[in-house]
């Protein structure tokens, strides 16, 4: 899947990955995709909640090599 920006949030505890994602998405245009890599297992639920609350679309959420990858499309 292609993306327009990438955010490395490995090793960070929530809510930092969420905060940094919020900042990164602000810099994108509507329709662009942000890829996020995190290691906090709580980030799975948190990114779901984040997308629900902000209206951005969670395109995918997957575990890859012990890390969690999220693709979020800016609404």
């Amino acid at each position: 899947m292609s993306f327009d920006a990438e955010l490395d949030a490995k090793g960070l505890n929530c809510p930092l990955p969420i905060l940094r994602a919020k900042k990164a998405i602000t810099a994108l245009n509507a329709g662009q995709v942000l890829k996020i890599i995190a290691t906090d297992p709580g980030s799975v639920k948190d990114f779901e909640a984040f997308c629900n609350q902000t209206g951005n679309e969670l395109l995918s959420s997957a575990e890859v090599d012990g890390a969690f990858e999220f693709m979020i499309k800016k609404s």
Partner: protein, 201 residues
């Protein structure tokens, strides 16, 4: 004689008693015998659900992890201002601990006697704060918005004062702070904490 419960209910009732006893006396201060006596079952029944005391302790921690605080709302609802987010995160955390004081008591016991895994479990909850503070202070310094400060030490100060507030309020219930509700006390310490971060003029 104990009333008949489903396996799931039985498991939950054992965890509930174990949580209370571990909070009172720590991992080493409680025996399986004491736990089964309080639950009102035989050791054989407990071992049907948990292979060992370690596994039971882990199950208690696991239950706490299900109550993990979500800061998403605090972060999304606010502007990304350092103090504002810190205040809402702290409010979420403090009310979560105030409603599960056993978790703080188990944390205290685990500081001295706990396994590496349990210490890491408890530390991880504080890491949300220390990560948040360290990152933001480093960023604010890089942007020359605040005077140089050791971000790591500052994060530790914060962890220390909030933990002390919680100890006073939910473990010791100290007379000294009786007239001060926890929300007011937290508010005061955050205001004091913010004074050590000097904005550049």
């Amino acid at each position: 004689m104990a009333k008949r419960l489903s396996a799931e209910e039985r498991r939950a009732s054992i965890i509930k008693v174990a949580k209370r006893l571990f909070a009172q006396a720590g991992f080493h201060g409680v025996s399986i015998d004491e736990i089964v006596k309080e639950v009102g079952v035989s050791p054989a029944i407990l071992y049907r659900h948990f292979e060992s005391k370690d596994e039971l302790y882990e199950a208690v921690l696991h239950e706490f992890s299900a109550t993990r605080e979500s800061y998403v709302e605090a972060v999304v609802a606010n502007d990304i201002g350092f103090e504002q987010v810190l205040r809402s995160m702290t409010t979420v955390f403090v009310s979560s601990i105030m409603s599960h004081p056993d978790m703080l008591k188990m944390e205290m016991h685990s500081q001295l006697e706990g396994s590496e895994a349990s210490q890491e479990f408890f530390l991880n909850r504080w890491k949300s704060f220390t990560d948040y503070i360290e990152f933001n202070l480093a960023e604010l310094q890089a942007q020359k918005k605040i005077h140089p400060i050791n971000a790591k030490a500052t994060a530790l100060i914060y962890q220390g004062i909030i933990r002390e507030v919680l100890l006073q309020k939910c473990v010791q219930q100290a007379d000294r702070f009786q007239e001060m509700p926890v929300a007011i006390l937290v508010d005061e310490v955050i205001s004091l904490f913010m004074k050590i971060i000097e904005p550049r003029k």
